[in-house]
Subunit: 356 residues, 2 copies
Amino acid sequence: MSRQQSPSIKMVADRAGVSVATVSNVLNGKPTVSPDFARRVNDAVRELGYVVDLGASRLRSRKAQLAGVVVPDLTNPMFASFVSTLEHLARLADYDLVVVSARNNAEEEADRLRKIRAWRPAGLIVIPCDGAFAERLPDGFFAPVVLADRIPDAAGFDLIAVDNGPSAGAIAAHLDQQGYEDCLVVGTSLSISNIRERWEGVRASAKHMRVEMLEIGIDDAHGAQLLEERLRHRPLPGALFSLDQGTTLLTYCTMAEIGLSVPGDIAFASFDEMEWMRLVTPGITTVRQPVEEMAEQAWALLLRRMTGSAGKPVTRRLRCAVEIRGSTPRNPLEEAGKLKLGGRKWKLQGEPYSPE
Amino acid sequence: MSRQQSPSIKMVADRAGVSVATVSNVLNGKPTVSPDFARRVNDAVRELGYVVDLGASRLRSRKAQLAGVVVPDLTNPMFASFVSTLEHLARLADYDLVVVSARNNAEEEADRLRKIRAWRPAGLIVIPCDGAFAERLPDGFFAPVVLADRIPDAAGFDLIAVDNGPSAGAIAAHLDQQGYEDCLVVGTSLSISNIRERWEGVRASAKHMRVEMLEIGIDDAHGAQLLEERLRHRPLPGALFSLDQGTTLLTYCTMAEIGLSVPGDIAFASFDEMEWMRLVTPGITTVRQPVEEMAEQAWALLLRRMTGSAGKPVTRRLRCAVEIRGSTPRNPLEEAGKLKLGGRKWKLQGEPYSPE
DNA sequence: AGCTTACAATAAATCGTTTCACCAGAGTTT
DNA sequence: AAACTCTGGTGAAACGATTTATTGTAAGCT
């Protein structure tokens, strides 16, 4: 199978009867070319189906309209949506995007980061696997990096994230108000800064309610076991608050399996909304993260950095929306009268803040 | 902000005190280099943090370990999972992947296809937006193309898809057996070959049951209206079968809104499983597509094509799994005794087939 | 006419790599 | 010792584009 070569700028030049420089000038919209020649070049381009070779073009011009994106897991709808938005924005700015997934694996992330350098991107947007991201970034990395969603241990990075603490705190305050006396808070690990911030937000906002943290780790099988143990133990807490997406699904399924009903036996709330949460009955009370906005902010910041804006690293926190649903009704054990709760929306007030 | 240049092979050569050719030989594992020189080169590479420039490397060597992937929508979990699997496989074969999303828009797809040529990929895997894909492929496209999931109007492409007809037929046969007398089948549009195949599968397999097709189009708002109209009309069909992911969500929500209960008022089944379908009560009967397998087959085929295997276009159909759940119980209107239905799994029998 | 200026098109240098032809020196064969 | 063959290394030519410097031509000015 003799595969036909893609046409080069030289073939276009030959066919149009001009020099390659002229073809390049036409294609790049340089003003110093006569309409007649431009037409001939454009005809030849169309006839041959010529498309510029990005590799060669970038090599010579040294301007890389190219950015890299690294996410922990493309199959997570939140990250997928993040990438999709970025892709759209990049296209508008006439940038190309190289997207890679670390498949939830720090080693693979390190590998991808090394590999992505080979593309010579003008900038990078990364949602890091974990806090130790800085160690995995090849040192002397040549392009600006904007981190999103997850907070690195090391300082010195541009960062766009959500206000984990206040948002988780809002859920805790809500549960508090609903009259629950104790709440089990479940998350993968406090070594992940997101989870830590959320847990601290809960602790700070639970006025009367007792709170207890359970770390179940990232291994699903082991986590399910820990969780089941705790949920079979008595007394059962009045409410359960799950701090991340993976944990939420695991918790929800585990409760169903061992026959705990929501909210009859236990109230349930989660951080990070998923589609099904408004489809199940009752709906799940949750914190919805502004993914599109996060992508927009990250892109805007990276674009500024790529076009030369210097300055101290920026941290920006975005507000989440809190969705109160049927899974966290007024505590039925309480003597107080019943309170009707619909799909009421509860937005946090005030302006976003940028610490330091 | 004077951004530091990425080191080039020349700097490595200078630092190691050898020629650039030698550095290249070391990096590409050519055997004709002494251990002593190899060590010196490797040291220099490490000290400078040198990473090869993919653009330049590919330009010169003309071997493009690069494949393109075009999907209609990255936020669709099925496509996201498809891409994620491909990415993993590509990495194993030491290929790079350029992933783009057409954002459910044929024009954007055409644009992306044109743009992706600029990367000079050695091959392409495409899940087309619609049947008219062939018209959008720049003619004389230079690299092998493997299509997946959706069937193009034009022949002549390698294709990996699922057995839409038999799988949808299995659902229809199930509903038939459960004693439903009529079934409303809902899909976006019969102009999409997937939907057409599924509808034909339903028609062929419904023995006693009357079936009726409702096309609601791709515009969600308009579709919801059409659907609501039909669902408020009487008599209500005993069962509803939704043929694609978008339609399913729309249908499920619409039914909830106008107060139809599943399966009390109407039984419900769907093509294309989503996570929430096993979380809601009752679970939704559905057809689960083998996404990972589809990605594996597509990659294997593309790899063969990229390494020169010629031959007639191949069509391969993969088997789906049918998940029977509580949303399609034995028809309560029937006189016959109740039948207990759990989360029973029902796999299709037999071997995959390759028509023609 | 003679000189400058402006314009349009081109030749040639260049980007960072790989590859190919070649070379120096050591070892082997006659 | 001359004529080979290896071996391990290098210089320089590509690859396909962009950019810079240069050329040739026509028009404008004195």
